[in-house]
């Protein structure tokens, strides 16, 4: 939970190589028959690992992270070493003007000012990121649906600047957009409804919710969101990122404790920081780590003053966007109840994408939304719109209506965007009189299982839960980040590749986001090409030694952060 230069999504401290640990029962939750089963499975060379966890789970929870092969890890470090050496060499050449400098420079008049950013801060950007910069920010010029048109660009100065050739690469298969349910469309009922509202209301609002920007449409949306989530009330905000960063400070403050997953999104981290509460971090999805923090927090109280904490808020996400893992919600809820903590669940990626009717991770596990104190999510992904919401008890929403930073200081949601959300949400709920929404949810679930299974069979290392539509494929080596992105685009497939600092330094990966809009044919084409590129770049690292997440040991070092 430290600020990252040029950070992209989330971050964690190094992952210990997994091993099957002792089979003792801890706190009645974890690892009873599971560890024994895992040991047996490992011995038999099987892949699947089912965690039962004392009946807390109503469905099998298959989530695995294959260990990084030692040779690959070593080669990856060597790769970064070579890159860094060349980086220094080229910086040296640039310094002595042997190599041409492409980057923008300070104004002559301000040369004697303290430099705006330290040169070494940009070492990574200049020497590593710049080499493969063409894999990001690819401009598109169509709906971000199952296929997308990408504007062709060229660089004649090694990615320092791009020129648009004017050509358009048509019909690129889109494996990058968060279009889980396929609502990113420019035809159909959503678009028509949004167009109608746009013509009536205009695009903007020009005021805040508390002043005079509370439209009837907003009230309608919030009532619908509450019904969709199965909570008492809800409130909608104009930006998903800001929903976290501007509402967490309204909920907790000094003297409160935030327990945050180490891989939480930057917006949750920022919100936690702005709140002024103490922040402690638990290992990703690791319930022992969380329980230990909870227990210690209550027993020992605040550091130095030894006062008891005013309240404890647990921050977790439904689906982790870089890992493809699903939160162990049944256990989190059990812990939260046992220790009287509050739970803030960010469903940015899981709402619409999980559960038999798309109600998110709570429905996926068959739990009661009442047990989650703050249900947060975004409209950007599954609903093909933008903005975010918070749902919960009426008292919570009343409080946010009066105290949310967003409600007081930020312009409210654009009316056509609101209408898109209303129409797509009604469609998912089946209120439009069709079963279209339900079919989309099912299609996504099928696509997810199929795509994940096929990739695993091909021998790639795939992270995450088998039901998560976010599918990370491990690339590891820095050179392969660029190569994979380019080779795939050559084959007319748009993928997202990510490396440090969005991931740990050796765990660079490609990430596919599945969509209900992907047909079997599209997926098969994509899979065929991925297979080919996988062979070409030798990406099939898997040795089928899956390490269940739970069995990773965790050390007790936690770092703490206090703001004042």
């Amino acid at each position: 939970m430290r600020p990252e230069p040029g950070g992209c999504c989330c971050r964690r401290t190094g992952r210990p190589n997994g091993c099957v640990a002792n089979g003792e029962v801890r706190n009645g939750y974890v690892r009873s028959s599971a560890a024994a089963a895992a040991a047996a499975a490992a011995a038999a060379g099987q892949i699947h690992h089912v965690t039962q966890n004392g009946g807390l789970y109503k469905r099998p929870f298959n989530e695995a992270f294959e260990e990084t092969p030692m040779l690959v890890a070593v080669l990856t470090y060597v790769g970064y070493g070579v890159l860094t050496l060349f980086g220094y060499l080229r910086d040296f050449l640039r310094y002595w003007r042997i190599e041409k400098c492409h980057h923008a420079t300070e104004r002559e008049e301000q040369k004697d000012f303290v430099s705006l950013y330290q040169d070494f801060e940009n070492f990574y950007t200049r020497n590593l990121y710049m080499r493969i910069r063409d894999n990001w920010n690819r401009p598109i010029c169509s709906v971000p649906g199952a296929r997308v048109d990408i504007m062709e660009r060229q660089s004649h100065d090694y990615n320092w600047s791009f020129k648009y050739t004017g050509n358009i690469i048509k019909g690129v298969i889109n494996m990058g957009s968060y279009n889980y349910l396929g609502f990113a469309r420019n035809t159909g009922s959503c678009q028509e409804a949004a167009a109608k509202v746009l013509e009536e209301y205009g695009a903007g609002v020009c005021s805040t919710r508390q002043e005079i920007g509370n439209l009837d449409k907003h009230e309608e949306l919030e009532e619908l969101v509450a019904r969709f989530l199965g909570v008492e009330a809800a409130m909608a905000y104009g930006m998903g990122f800001a929903t976290n960063s501007m509402n967490i400070p309204a909920l907790v403050g000094k003297g409160c404790l935030i327990l945050s997953d180490e891989l939480n999104h930057a917006s949750l981290v920022l919100g936690a920081r702005l709140s002024g509460a103490t922040i402690r971090i638990f290992k990703h999805n690791n319930m022992q780590s969380l329980e230990k923090l909870l227990k210690d927090a209550i027993v020992y109280g605040q550091p130095r003053t030894r006062r008891p904490w005013k309240k404890i808020l647990i921050l977790v996400e439904g689906i982790y966007s870089m890992e493809g893992s699903i939160v162990r919600l049944p256990e989190v809820i059990a812990l939260k109840k046992k220790y009287k903590a509050y739970l803030y669940l960010d469903e940015a990626h899981s709402i619409g994408a999980l559960g038999p009717t798309g109600r998110g991770v709570v429905e996926y596990f068959g739990l009661d939304p009442e047990d989650v104190d703050v249900m947060m999510g975004t409209f950007t992904k599954s609903f093909g719109a933008s903005g975010g919401y918070i749902g919960g008890k009426k008292e919570l929403i009343d409080y946010l209506r009066t105290h949310s930073h967003s409600a007081v200081y930020a312009t409210s949601l654009s009316p056509p965007v609101v209408e898109q959300i209303i129409t797509s949400m009604k469609c998912i709920m089946g209120q439009d009189g069709t079963s279209l929404g339900k079919e989309c949810v099912q299609q996504l679930a099928e696509n997810t299982r199929y795509f994940r299974r096929r990739l695993k069979e091909m021998g790639f290392i795939i992270y995450g839960n088998e039901d998560s539509p976010v599918v990370p494929l491990m690339l590891y080596m820095p050179a392969k980040i660029g190569a994979f992105g380019r080779e795939m685009l050559k084959r007319n497939i748009g993928v997202v590749v990510v490396g440090f600092p969005a991931t740990p330094i050796i765990e660079s990966r490609a990430r596919f986001c599945l969509s209900a809009a992907h047909t079997k044919e599209i997926l098969d084409t994509a899979l065929k090409e991925i297979d080919e590129v996988g062979d070409l770049l030798q990406l099939k690292y898997s040795r089928h030694r899956l390490v269940p997440l739970l069995d990773r040991p965790f050390d007790e070092t936690t770092y703490e952060e206090t703001e004042d």
Binding site: G7, A104, R107, Q110, F113, L116, Y129, W136, P139, I140, V143, P144, M151, N174, G176, S177, R185, N186, Q191, A195, L198, E199, G202, A203, G204, S207, E211, I212, G213, N214, D216, M239, F241, A242, M246, P249, S267, L270, R273, K295, W309, K310, K311, V374, T380, F383, G384, A385, E395, L396, Y399, H405, S406, V408, A410, T411, S414, P416, V417, V496
Partner: protein
């Protein structure tokens, strides 16, 4: 010879070992073992030294009662029940079922219901759908975003512009992209909430100067200079920023930019200028406060503004030199980690810029209207006008506070409600009282737009006057 001596010493040592008494050896042995233990034992945490038994711990856990997640909000909280606007919040606005003339939305140029803007947004909607389904980095960059950035940069006559999908997040992300822990930010006391949050996120040292008081700012800069001379090594890596607003949201006043630029070069501090109210308002072509004062825009390091007021869309932008702006593409949190702006809103903003470029006369019209109502509102007993005559958003404050903020708010709300009954839509400026660094006094915010006719402006002024007299006297 030397080796022989050394050998002899060794032999002597071994012999001494033999001759030493047993208790001596045992003691030394124990001491050595003790040292080894101290060296290798695990450092303990103070917490774990407490001798709580498992049972005691369980009791403590059982005993602990947290505060409720949120306190109960009283039913009559002034901010709990929002006004409900039915239909578009344009010149004529229906608030709680009553049609009024809008003096509350920041729709300065009346572009919210402009048919051209709507048509452009609609064209975008039909081409791209509504959402972008991704951040800028991951297939969330659309050609309209690039167009809009280009157009904004050209309009402002800067090298580069960068757009954000939320007005509030713009300056709040831009400040921490540059200013880090240990850096020093000089900021006006009246700075808006977005700036305050940006500063908090940056964790820099914050020095507040009195609102628009250049002498006070210079005093702080001088103090810092003296401090810097004491520790030149630290000063060499400490960035200094001055963060100001063009027109202040909280006061309706304009910043003395020429003096600020002088101070900037004198004390080598960079200027970040937040222009949400002044962009599309001040200056001959609506370029904001730099054009108003005729200042070279390159003298300002970073200009940020939202597109939610004059442009009547959603989102915000920063502009300046590429050297400065480009850094945000990897460091601006609200830029990297958030879904990009819906293309229809970018389309609307581009068309709004077109309209601004085609009709530069519009800014003079707006200024004239501001002056008119500003003048008409003078001399109301009990209420004072706060803000420049050229500002399209200014405040009406109580001349004399009743002593309690709550009571003041209630009085002002009474005025707002009665004006609303008489078809003039106004609103109080809302603040989070506990969160604001320097809480402004309660006020009614009056917003002028080009759509308001002279007659309507006069009517609004006389209505406010009459109502205020009735409520306050």
């Amino acid at each position: 010879m030397a080796t022989a001596t050394e050998q002899w010493v060794l032999v002597e040592m071994v012999q001494a070992l033999y001759e030493a008494p047993a208790y001596h050896l045992i003691l030394e042995g124990i001491l050595i073992l003790w040292i080894i233990r101290l060296l290798f034992s695990k450092t303990y945490k103070l917490q774990e030294r407490s001798d709580l038994t498992v049972k005691e711990k369980e009791e403590l856990i059982e005993e602990w009662q947290p505060e409720p997640l949120v306190p109960l909000v009283p039913k009559d909280h002034p901010a709990l029940n929002y006004n409900i606007v039915s239909g578009p919040p344009s010149h004529k606005i229906v608030v709680n079922g009553k049609e009024c003339i809008n003096f509350a939305s920041f729709n300065f140029l009346g572009l919210l219901d402009n048919p051209r803007v709507k048509a452009a947004a609609l064209a975008s909607l039909k081409k791209y759908g509504v959402g972008t389904c991704g951040p800028r980095g991951f297939y969330g960059t659309f050609d309209v975003h690039l167009d809009l950035e280009d157009r904004l940069a050209k309009f402002m006559k800067t090298e580069e512009a960068i757009i954000y999908s939320y007005g509030f997040a713009t300056i709040a992300s831009a400040i921490p992209a540059y200013s880090k822990r240990g850096d020093i930010v000089f900021v006006d006391r009246a700075a808006c909430f977005a700036i305050q949050k940006g500063l908090q996120a940056s964790r820099s040292d914050i020095k507040l100067f009195k609102h628009n008081d250049m002498a006070d700012l210079e005093r702080l800069l001088k103090e810092q200079e003296i401090e810097d001379q004491k520790n030149p090594r630290k000063a060499r890596v400490t960035r200094r920023f001055i963060v100001v607003e063009g027109l202040y949201m909280n006061t309706g006043t304009i910043c003395p930019l020429p003096e600020l630029v002088k101070l900037k070069y004198k004390y080598k501090a960079r200027i970040f200028l937040e222009e949400s109210l002044s962009f599309g308002v001040l200056g001959e072509h609506g370029r904001g406060v730099t054009e108003h004062y005729g200042i070279n825009i390159d003298d300002i390091d970073l200009i940020s503004a939202n597109m939610e007021n004059a442009l009547a869309s959603i989102g915000g932008f920063c502009c300046g030199r590429s050297f400065v702006i480009d850094h945000q593409r990897l460091s601006g949190q609200g830029y990297c980690f958030s879904a990009s702006l819906p293309p229809l809103l970018a389309g609307a903003a581009i068309e709004a810029l077109n309209i601004m470029e085609e009709n530069p006369g519009i800014f003079a019209v707006l200024k004239e209207k501001c002056r008119q109502i500003h003048k008409a509102l003078q001399g109301i007993s009990g209420l004072k006008v706060v803000g420049e005559p050229l500002s399209p958003a200014f405040h009406l404050q109580l001349e004399e506070s009743t002593g309690s903020r709550e009571q003041d708010v209630r009085l002002l709300q009474e005025i707002v409600d009665q004006c609303m009954n008489r078809s003039i839509a106004l609103t109080q400026a809302r603040y989070l009282e506990k969160e604001e660094k320097c809480l402004p006094p309660p006020s009614i915010r009056v917003v002028v737009t080009v759509e308001q006719t002279e007659e309507e402006l006069d009517r609004a002024a006389s209505t406010i006057k009459e109502v205020a007299q009735a409520v306050l006297l």
